[in-house]
């Protein structure tokens, strides 16, 4: 789920289930009401005349000769080859300047774009087809494109991350892509420094700088100062460098937040203490933030899209857990309080700063 940066009333959400597949929902009134783009908002949809087509859930890989790339195969967990099959939308990223433009990261990994408010979707096929696609393989959650970062200073630049292929960048609006995984070291793949095959969990970027990126990998927290061309580890004194969520302070580009999780097989905070770790030095030196967070018997996870930052001067930080709590801090993480509890597992937390 994510709101438009230029129209806070415009919110996009992805619903998916094993029964009915993918549904795209949109709100044009700040979440009061929702509808599938392409069907009339709030109106009866039973008219037999002139009903618009509801194809907002149609994601078809572009394999046309004119604009697309041939559908090849990708790797499966066991090294066998699988065809690309659409399964679900993992992330929706609205354009920074047009509320009707929105990007979707899907499983099996590809990047789609809608220019009509989510009514119809077209693939940006150069990502899947740039060359390394046949080597991509799923992470534990599937072969999913889960992270999309747009650059306010450079509309032609997009970063994406795929589990377990890695990070990729385009500098020409999606016409060409390249892997940006140099410096990543993953012991769980045959070549730990391979060009692709890394399980990148999430990437965060401060809006003011196009070149500095922070990454939470399956294991390891990393940083790049050259837009992903090179990465180096900044895990430093973290109690564990496994995790999912990572984000950057609204006004301090060198202040980074992560939520360390014990291990890939034990998805809960070390010692059962829910701690956000903050670095004010761009990494390596981390301090635990614990005030207001449960410090015993807490066995929840914090997922990759479940952390958000507001733009107030004091910088609010928010995150949700798989135990259904959402915590907020209005002072950059110094103190925390639960906003809501007993929800289903929280997959996505987004915040809007309204004037």
């Amino acid at each position: 789920m994510k709101g438009s940066a230029v129209d806070p009333n415009r919110i996009y959400a992805s619903q998916t289930s094993g029964w009915f597949g993918q549904i795209i929902q949109r709100s044009d009134d700040g979440g009061e009401t929702w509808f599938q783009p392409g069907t009339p908002a709030g109106e009866a949809t039973t008219s037999e005349d002139g009903m618009p087509k509801g194809e907002s859930n149609k994601f078809v890989y572009d394999s046309s000769e004119e604009t697309g790339k041939p559908l090849t195969t990708h790797q499966f967990y066991d090294g066998t080859l699988k065809p690309w099959v659409f399964k679900r939308v993992w992330h929706l990223e609205p354009s920074l300047d047009n509320p009707d433009v929105v990007y979707a990261g899907i499983e099996d990994a590809a990047l789609f774009r809608s220019a009509d408010g989510g009514q119809t979707w077209q693939e940006l096929p150069a990502l899947r087809g740039h060359g390394t696609g046949p080597q991509w393989q799923p992470g534990a959650g599937g072969l999913c494109l889960h992270t999309i970062i747009l650059d306010p200073d450079n509309p032609q630049r997009i970063f994406v991350a795929i589990s377990a292929a890695g990070a990729f960048r385009t500098d020409d609006g999606g016409a060409t892509w390249k892997p940006i995984n140099k410096g990543l070291h993953s012991l769980y793949i045959p070549d730990p420094t391979a060009e692709v095959g890394h399980c990148v969990h999430h990437i965060a970027k401060h809006p003011s700088n196009s070149n500095i990126l922070f990454m939470q990998k399956h294991w390891d927290v990393l940083r790049s100062d050259d837009a992903g061309d090179n990465w180096h580890e900044i895990s430093g004194n973290l109690p564990t460098d496994f995790g999912f969520a990572i984000d950057v302070h609204a006004h301090e580009p060198e202040t980074v937040y992560v939520v360390p999780i014990k291990s890939d097989s034990e998805h809960y905070p070390p010692e059962g203490k829910l701690r956000v770790y903050r670095s004010r030095s761009g990494g390596n030196e981390w301090e635990p933030l614990t005030k207001g967070l449960p410090q015993e018997n807490c066995y929840v996870n914090v997922l990759r899209d479940a952390m958000a930052i507001d733009s107030l001067d004091s910088c609010g930080v928010y995150f949700g857990t798989t135990g259904g709590q959402v915590y907020g801090s209005s002072d950059s993480g110094d103190t925390w309080a639960p906003i809501v509890r007993d929800l289903p597992p929280v997959l996505s937390v987004e915040v809007q700063t309204l004037s």
Binding site: F20, G54, V60
Partner: protein, 98 residues
Amino acid sequence: MIVVVLPAHLRTLAGVTGDVNLEIEGAVTRRSILDALEARYPMLRGTIRDHVAGERRPMLRFFACSEDVTHDSPDAPLPEAIASGAEPFYIIGAIAGG
């Protein structure tokens, strides 16, 4: 007139309450019912059958006159009671999740 019973979530998506009534010309088969349903309620496209392959979603089944017709040919004629509207055509979501 064909009567179709939808799972609750698909009723919500289609914006209907209760059963759905459809007029079908020609043979009444699973394919002709689903074609008519999706034409009348385009927002249901992709939720019952995959957009591209046209295959049934694995956790949905089709019942007619107390018979599971899920694995019958999609072009097999359905019983007269379905074609006449005396009995509804059921689209059932599997009981799954626990």
